[in-house]
Assembly symmetry: C2
Homo-oligomer: 206 residues x 2
DNA sequence: CAGTCATGTTACCGGTCGGTAACGTATCGC
DNA sequence: GCGATACGTTACCGACCGGTAACATGACTG
């Protein structure tokens, strides 16, 4: 089960995983995010990755499982991004929230953005038993928890209420990006998120 | 199975359209909203509607065109709902927004809700030339316009900013409903939308 | 009665869906 | 050289995708 023990022989690449699986996975992540999960078939993935279906099913149990892994990957990247944005303002929760929203607006209005991959998956996937569902609710629950924690740390009058409101603003931006396209950049509705967050925090701190 | 035998002789319905087209259309709307657009095939629609594919393509040019019509229908229903909610508070824009958000929270947290069908379509449909896209952006643009108009009518300090913020709150609720399921009802994030809207309006009216 | 119109029936098209079986081969450490 | 591991190739499965052709039926209408 563990092929990587003494790989120091040649080691032209990363230790751990060979090549094909990663190529498939990264291609799949890219396609899933840009075109949607249902819209991208296994054939399209392996075609783009320059391999074949057998190699796919040697690396992944099923497409559904790959989708779940895709979302786990986006979840990790998201929190990496969050922590990096928040770090410079340690100890200042209000500044942290402002930094998050500023970065969120920039990211969401960028040309390549297709909103939140996790949220999009929540729209596309209806089945309760789909392995991706738990990933989605865990991700969004953690976002909620962090916003509430931040709100509490800034001594908001009603931290849970403020935290939820901030979350709604953020999620709303994702949808607005998809409905309005990139026109959300120049004075589009997404750009209002930061100011709205400030206004809400002001009101809860007064 | 077919009770419409006697009433057909009296013609109690519209003289224009017979029956099959409407049956197909209503079935399609129901399935599209509950399961998603890509997840529902033409076969599933005609099967559920108790008819066949030929009758489908005699009534609709293509599935894409049906999807566009489905969204136009939801658009009409939405504004019907909006106008009904707003009507009792004519001349009082602030009360109108509050009524909208109260009704929105109730509707979105209900058991059958799957968020906003238009927004979900924006997630599922990537192609720019899809006949549904224009319906989606028209719908969301009008929501934005109305919120901004309402904000201006209540003499908000920055009406465009407030209007956009209200829109983001609303859209965020749709996504939260999908990610958290019906648990958004009891103290879930969606329920915070009304209070957040009030807080924002307070701040802009002070 | 004849004609028309809406609807149903059956079969079909090429293509794609997720997924699998069987087999071939290149590279590797031992 | 040996076996193991990783990857590629070809072919296939049943099901479904959106969409069409040809034809039959039944009812309402002139």
């Amino acid at each position: 089960m563990n092929p990587a023990k003494s790989e120091a022989s040649v080691a032209p690449e990363l230790p751990g995983k060979p090549r094909v699986r990663d190529r498939i996975f990264e291609t799949a992540c890219d396609l899933f995010y840009r075109q949607g999960i249902r819209a991208v078939g296994v054939d399209a993935i392996v075609g783009e990755a320059g391999t074949n279906k057998m190699s796919f099913y040697r690396s992944f149990a099923s497409k559904d499982e790959l989708v779940a892994e895709y979302l786990r990957s986006r979840d990790r990247c998201f929190w990496q991004w969050w922590d990096a944005v928040v770090a410079p303002h340690a100890g200042n929760p209000r500044a942290q929230v402002e930094a998050i929203f500023e970065a969120h607006v920039n990211k969401t209005c960028s040309k390549e953005s297709r909103g939140c991959g996790l949220a999009n998956a929540a729209v596309e996937i209806v089945e309760d038993e789909h392995p991706a569902r738990s990933v989605i609710v865990a991700h969004k629950s953690e976002i909620r928890r962090r916003f509430r924690t931040l709100a509490a740390a800034m001594s908001a009058r009603d931290p849970d209420q403020l935290g939820d409101a901030l979350m709604l603003l953020m999620e709303g931006g994702y949808l607005a990006r998809l409905t309005f396209g990139q026109s959300c950049a120049h004075g589009g509705p997404v750009t209002s998120a930061l100011k709205a967050a400030r206004t809400l925090m002001d009101a809860h701190q007064r």
